[in-house]
Structure formats: structure tokens, C-alpha cells
Amino acid sequence: MSDKIILNININNKEIKLNVEPRTLLIDILRNNLNLTGTHIGCDTSQCGSCMVLLENKCVKSCSILVAQCDNKSIKTIESIGKENNLSNVQKAFKNNHGLQCGFCTPGFIMSAIECKNNKLSSEDEVREFLDGNFCRCTGYQNIVKSITSFLKMP
């Protein structure tokens, strides 16, 4: 058994102290220990982007990064983006444009949409290229792209 390591990570604006085995992946801590189950495991092989979270405001696939690599950094998950009765702009855009069907991949797309906006993308082509690392297996992307381009136009 490997020695546990102590980490300090800011998750959704809360300072959290963790005592974990070195092999722990970020997604495992989020879902199993912190009950942040909005971030989903899709492929578990860093292809699909369902587990996308923001690390220091940049997208990472949380199935492919050790939580140890995130020590003293900030993480944002879908739980920090809005509430059921108080949706954020990006969530409103997805709702208004029917940007989801089953919703499994949606948290990942939302995190990518936020980085799209931070990077000041605007055109549909840029959005499509940016979404290369997110898979959706039901809506066929048209409404997701529509949702994100409409979010990018919001103030």
C-alpha cells in the first residue's frame, strides 16, 4: 500500500484538504469522496470529454489527471455553474436551444463552452473546432453548437 499524500485544493471556491492515495484520479475524488456527481465518466480513456472540469480555468479531462497534480490549484465543476432554480447564462442557452437530449455529456460541453467564452471565440467554425474533445451520442451536435454560439453572444 502506497503512503497517502495530503493535498490542498480549491474546489468550487471551497478550500478542501484531502488525504489520498497517489493513484487517485481527479474524477474519483470528485464523484466518490466529494459527492460531486455532476461530472460524468463516459469513456474513461480521455476521449469523450464527459468528465471535463476546469483546472485553473482551463478544461481538463478529470479521468486522465491525478488529483495529486492539482495540489494548490483551483477546480471548477458543473456544480459551481448554476442552480436548478437559478440557471447560469450558459445553462439557459442550452435550455433555450434544446442543446441536450439525454444530458449525459452536457456537463462536459458546458465546461468547454465556458472556456470558449474565456478564450473569446465567436464564430460557429471556431466553436466546432474547439469542441473536438467532447462527444455527444444523441443530439448530433447541431443544437449544442447553436447553444454555445448563442451563449457567446450573451453579455
Partner: protein, 265 residues
């Protein structure tokens, strides 16, 4: 994931000392290849030595002798978005912007990529064509000597790549025909102009990156009217795999060349 130990030293000397005393350690940079490989037990080090706290590996700077020095820990997105690289070696920033997907580009590093020496990785084409130099903790290695074979480099096992020195080249371009799933190169070609002559390197097609000798001494004018069909690639051992046959790859190389060269300007 299987069990291993994790270390995060803050100096190169400490990293190398650790490496030498551990059983079967591996250095960890962005982890975009290593962590998925470990999850599948394709790689199973006893210890990971995370290099993220080593400042000497970071930053992109212009040196006095007119070269760009890219720290080994620079992420693909840092390279793609660096104004210094965009303004001086635009082909390199374009290449970095086409690696994998955005999340991978946020974490994956140039140092990690070249040390892994995947035959379908993008950077080797740029390093060879631009005649870059790979700097490690104790020496400098020209790109032409660095890549030895599939996943094999000139590096000693404990050695750490600290930075890559690129000569400034105002004219350069990268063109890739990639696997739609992984975005790895089935054929990737980098071209630049050295002393008014073309320098083209090919990645993804063989076990390691290679110079396209037949077009490499052509002036640009001659290159634009060259009959690419007569290029002979028989000696290059072009690979066949699930993505493409060697015949298809040869055809890609010949057919991508005109577009590559037109876009150098």
C-alpha cells in the same frame, strides 16, 4: 489504477537524484499519454516524479542569438497562443494548435511529447525541419540525432529535457492528414526555408520522423514546379497499419506537398 508512489521535487538535481534511487520511476509532465497508458497497464512505473514545480522547465523566450527557447513544460496551447512563436515561427504555433483536442493541449507539454517519441506525434516534424536543438540537464542534442526509433530517443533514462531551441524561421508551415479519432498524424509534414532552400520533414509515416531529402535542396521556385510524383520513398520503410497502407501514405506525402509548399509564405 494500480498503486504507485508520487513525488514532486522542486529542482532538476532533486528529480535526478530521486530517479536514480527509485526502482522503476518515470518522469511525469502533462501526463496526457502516460496516465492513460498507466490506467491500461501499458506502462507501470513504481514511482512518478512530477516535474510541474521545476521553474527551469517553464517559459518561452527569445534569446540574444535570435533563437526562440521553449521550456520543456510549455503546454501545446501555450505554444499555439504564444505571440513570440506566432510572429517568428508561425508553422510551429499552427502545428501546436492542431494537436489532439483543447483539453489535451491545455495539459500536454512539448517536452513530454518529444520524450515519448510517438512516431505519429506532430512536433518531431517541426524539430527536424527547423533544425531545433533539444537541451537537457547536461547537454544539447540536435533534433536529427534525438529521434532514434519508435518511442526511442537519444536520452539516458534519468535525463530530463529542459528546453528546445528553435532558430527563427519567418517562413514555415505544417500540414497534417490526421486520424479523425485521435488527431495523431497519419502523415504530417513540416516545411520551412533554410538559406533559400526548402527543408521538409515527415512524421507519422515511418517509425520515426525523416527529412524528405529529394526536395530538401530545392530553391522555392524550383519546388513550386517540381514533379512530386517522381519522389522515391522506397528506402524510407513507410508504415502500414489500421489507419493507412504504406501505398496510401506515400500517395498522401506526394499529394500534400504542393499545398504544404504553397502555404509556406
Amino acid at each position: 489504477m494500480y498503486q504507485f508512489e508520487y513525488h514532486k521535487p522542486s529542482s532538476l538535481a532533486d528529480s535526478i537524484e530521486l530517479f536514480n534511487k527509485l526502482e522503476f520511476p518515470k518522469y511525469l509532465a502533462g501526463g496526457m499519454t502516460l496516465i492513460p497508458a498507466m490506467k491500461q497497464k501499458l506502462s507501470s512505473p513504481t514511482d512518478l516524479i512530477d516535474l510541474q514545480n521545476i521553474d527551469e522547465l517553464k517559459g518561452i523566450n527569445k534569446s540574444k542569438d535570435n533563437t526562440i527557447i521553449v521550456g520543456a513544460f510549455s503546454s501545446h496551447n501555450e505554444i499555439a497562443n504564444s505571440l513570440l512563436i506566432k510572429n517568428n515561427i508561425k508553422g510551429l504555433s499552427y502545428l501546436a494548435s492542431k494537436i489532439a483536442d483543447n483539453a489535451v493541449r491545455n495539459s500536454g507539454t512539448i517536452g513530454g511529447s518529444i520524450c515519448n517519441a510517438d512516431p505519429a506525434a506532430d512536433y518531431p516534424a517541426a524539430l527536424l525541419s527547423l533544425e531545433a536543438t533539444i537541451n537537457t540537464n547536461n547537454r544539447s542534442i540536435p533534433a536529427k540525432d534525438f529521434f532514434i526509433d519508435m518511442f526511442e530517443t537519444k536520452l539516458e533514462s534519468h535525463e530530463i529535457v529542459t528546453s528546445i531551441t528553435f532558430p527563427i524561421k519567418s517562413k514555415s508551415f505544417y500540414l497534417k492528414f490526421s486520424s479523425q479519432a485521435s488527431k495523431y498524424a497519419i502523415v504530417g509534414m513540416f516545411a520551412c526555408i533554410v538559406n533559400d532552400q526548402l527543408s521538409v520533414s515527415v512524421t507519422g509515416a515511418a517509425n520515426k520522423v525523416f527529412h524528405l531529402e529529394e526536395v530538401n535542396n530545392l530553391s522555392l521556385n524550383k519546388a513550386l514546379t517540381y514533379d512530386y510524383d517522381k519522389i522515391n520513398l522506397e528506402k524510407m520503410n513507410i508504415n502500414s497499419d489500421i489507419h493507412a497502407s504504406s501505398k496510401y501514405r506515400v500517395s498522401l506525402i506526394k499529394n500534400m506537398l504542393p499545398k504544404l509548399i504553397e502555404n509556406i509564405f
